[in-house]
């Protein structure tokens, strides 16, 4: 991947795309009728939520690959994705209330998207805590992969269960669905935003992966050194 898509190019592309997205958010998209300027938070809230979800899907796939093939790069990818995904998920939870309060008068509600995001955030926290609290590094990959798989099963169940729960306990309709009656310019802005965040996500994951590769190099050299010293 590094040969096909060098980091520098990735960085430039990310920056450019973000600039375009920001332009569209502030200067191209029309002002929303009922909420006013505050609605522009939507253009980072939704893409961040999308990326956070994709992140966990990647963790799931990487975990399965690790359990089946013991591939260390898969484990490193899972860990890197977990960190970056967690950052994006936090952004969703930060922007959500900041949008909800001026728009609908409440800081929080258990709407499907916010509930799912909160549960997803808890899963990210659990995964990252496990990574940092593990005493035996040899087992870390195994255990985290197991949590990655169970966690993703939970995400699927979350999605279905929340929908069922909302039919039992209908809430006042706050948002007529994310895409209901969306001005085409708003939709275009949103899509560009999703693209920008996605490319940013993968850029950050690659940066984080560099750290993992360095750490692997470090432990390999240490091993070789210890072996060599024991020979002398």
């Amino acid at each position: 991947m590094n040969k096909k898509f060098p980091m520098r190019l990735h960085f430039l592309l990310t920056t450019a795309w973000l600039v375009v997205a920001l332009y569209m958010i502030f200067l191209y998209a029309p002002e929303e009728m009922t909420m006013g300027e505050v609605q522009r938070i939507f253009y980072i809230h939704v893409p961040a939520a999308w990326v956070a979800l994709v992140g966990f899907i990647i963790i799931f796939i990487a975990s399965i690959v690790y359990l089946m093939k013991r591939s260390q790069p898969a484990d490193e990818l899972a860990h890197a994705t977990a960190e970056v995904g967690f950052i994006f998920c936090t952004c969703v939870l930060v922007t959500g209330p900041l949008w909800a309060k001026p728009a609908w008068g409440i800081w929080w509600t258990w709407s499907p998207r916010l509930t799912l995001t909160f549960l997803l955030w808890l899963l990210y926290v659990a995964y990252l805590m496990l990574r940092s609290y593990l005493v035996n590094p040899g087992r870390a990959a195994n255990l985290c992969a197991v949590v990655g798989v169970i966690g993703f099963a939970d995400v699927i169940i979350d999605y279905m269960a929340i929908r069922w729960w909302r039919t039992q306990h209908p809430q006042p309709v706050i948002m007529g669905g994310p895409n209901s009656g969306l001005d085409p310019r708003m939709l275009a802005t949103l899509l560009v935003g999703v693209g920008a965040f996605t490319i940013l996500f993968f850029f950050l994951v690659r940066v984080r992966l560099r750290l993992a590769v360095m750490r692997r190099e470090l432990s390999e050299i240490r091993h070789a050194l210890a072996f060599k010293l024991s020979e002398d």
């Binding site: 496990l130 169970i150 169940i157 269960a161």
Partner: protein, 225 residues
């Protein structure tokens, strides 16, 4: 060795160890009782509205008592290097999982009976009319919850802050088992006003089975080096 024999021997081992000082069971029961007592005292018990809280209070108490039990289930194994012993034994790890899970299920089940008695007493509510349904819901809910508690207990036993790690893993993932159980229990207690009691039990059963099977399949990875 026959799989059932293995499971049986693990369950009997845990029961025998527990019987010696009954620490785990006692603390689970006491902890659960305290939670129910707290909620019951904080809200006026004679009111109809308070009964709405009963399913949630019960399952919250079960949830916390359960986590207490799951922590101890693997703590003693860890201390006496039994984990390594189990890993080395020529036994299918999944059978170890089933054994530990059944033991956890039994202990939590006994604690639940104690808690149910106390709740019925303090909330002035009889569980008898819907007893069969409630037992089904309690069984399936506890099954899924114990399955997750068993695998997460084994995972958390490898970490520095075991109790915290188990809790952090358990609650987000067992969340819907608890919510569906609370919902079904409430429905049963109210005499199934929608007439659809099978749906509630089915939901709890379905989600519990999903998590039980997943935990069962993944447990071998938790034990291997």
């Amino acid at each position: 060795m026959n799989s059932l024999k293995i499971i049986w021997s693990i369950v009997m081992k845990d029961l025998r160890v527990e019987w010696r000082n009954r620490e785990t069971l006692a603390s689970m029961c006491v902890f659960g009782l305290l939670i129910i007592f707290l909620f019951n005292f904080a809200f006026e018990t004679a009111h109809e509205e308070t009964l709405r809280l009963l399913p949630a209070v019960l399952w919250v108490a079960i949830a916390f008592a359960g986590v207490l039990g799951f922590n101890r289930a693997f703590a003693s194994e860890r201390e006496n290097a039994c984990m390594e012993g189990m890993t080395l034994a020529p036994v299918d790890p999944s059978m170890i999982f089933v054994g530990k899970m059944v033991a956890n299920l039994l202990f939590l089940g006994i604690a639940e009976v104690v808690m149910a008695f106390a709740a019925a007493l303090w909330f002035n509510f009889s569980f008898l009319p819907a007893l069969g349904q409630l037992i089904l819901i309690a069984f399936f809910g506890t099954l899924g919850y114990a399955a997750l508690g068993t695998i997460f207990g084994a995972i958390a036993a490898n970490t520095r802050m075991r109790e915290v790690m188990l809790t952090v893993l358990q609650f987000p993932i067992a969340f819907w088992i608890l919510i569906f159980s609370i919902d079904a229990t409430g429905n049963a207690m109210r005499g199934n006003p929608d007439g659809n009691w099978l749906g509630g039990v089915g939901r709890v059963g379905g989600i519990s089975l999903v998590f039980t099977v997943t935990s069962f399949l993944l447990f071998e990875y938790v034990l291997e080096e």
